[in-house]
Subunit: 136 residues, 2 copies
DNA sequence: TGAAAATCCTATTAAATCGATAGGGTATAG
DNA sequence: CTATACCCTATCGATTTAATAGGATTTTCA
């Protein structure tokens, strides 16, 4: 299942993508328009700012805005920040590799074999989509 | 993340696949060889039996065995039983469709748009793999 | 016929995760 | 200097997951 964090994060990013770049939009506005708990969204946007997707501005007239153009924001990067590793098991993860403790040999593991294909298929999708591509 | 249930279930299926068909293998043997909690595996195999993948035999010399040939067991079916829906959001699910309560329109939803592609990519993988294909 | 073997079944538990909330701190515009 | 809006940490309740417990049922076979 896709986490609500990821869902909300994606919705917020697309909301900002159709706005003027570098013009701050307030959390409250996004939350209201996208039916998201404001406090929860707050923490998600904070995350997206710390990871370099968003800029922010405090005080009156403040808010969040996209730092890069939608066409330059890859879904691979967004998904890794919001949802975590793209691989379904650590032993096939590119960025978060870990050996299985229970499994003696990855080469002869059927789970590994299947999940490698799944990882590649998902990567292909995320690499072929920027934020601009999923706008209406 | 792939659940342990799915991981263990897949390992058990492949274990049975390399054995003679219709010859029962005991839970204890599979659990020991694949480093799986026996009791947990018990409930998983029970599930796989109820959903038509395995047959069972009680008493001495009993155990579980594959009902179909590995080449006839599609990963789409296995994954749906063990892991649940293949889609990451219900609004793009083929077998478990549900409308989002928060989202006014699927057609203009960026999450929907992205997750449709992800679903199709995953389906493609699972449809192209039978149990026979992921054996060593 | 009875004891051992093995699956069947339900309930419970411990830990982790998730989604949401609380409550104040900090910077900035005007 | 005050209102605004982001910043930050902590906590909570619900759900899910992985594992365990404990016995019921069926079958084999001596």
């Amino acid at each position: 299942m896709l986490s609500k964090k990821t869902k909300y994060g994606l919705k917020a990013l697309t909301y900002l993508a159709v706005k003027e770049q570098n013009v701050p939009v307030q959390i409250a506005e996004i939350a209201k328009n996208e039916n998201i708990s404001q406090k929860f969204l707050e923490s998600i946007l904070l995350d997206l700012r710390k990871t370099g997707f968003l800029g922010s501005k405090k005080g009156k007239g403040g808010g969040y805005y996209l730092i890069k153009r939608p066409g330059d924001i890859l879904m691979t990067d967004v998904m890794r920040v919001l949802e975590g590793p793209i691989a379904m098991v650590p032993c096939v993860s590119l960025n978060f590799y870990e050996k299985c403790t229970d499994c003696p040999d990855e080469v002869t593991c059927s789970v590994n074999r299947l999940m490698l294909q799944v990882r590649d298929a998902n990567l292909e999708v995320y690499r072929n989509n920027t934020l601009a591509d999923i706008l209406v």
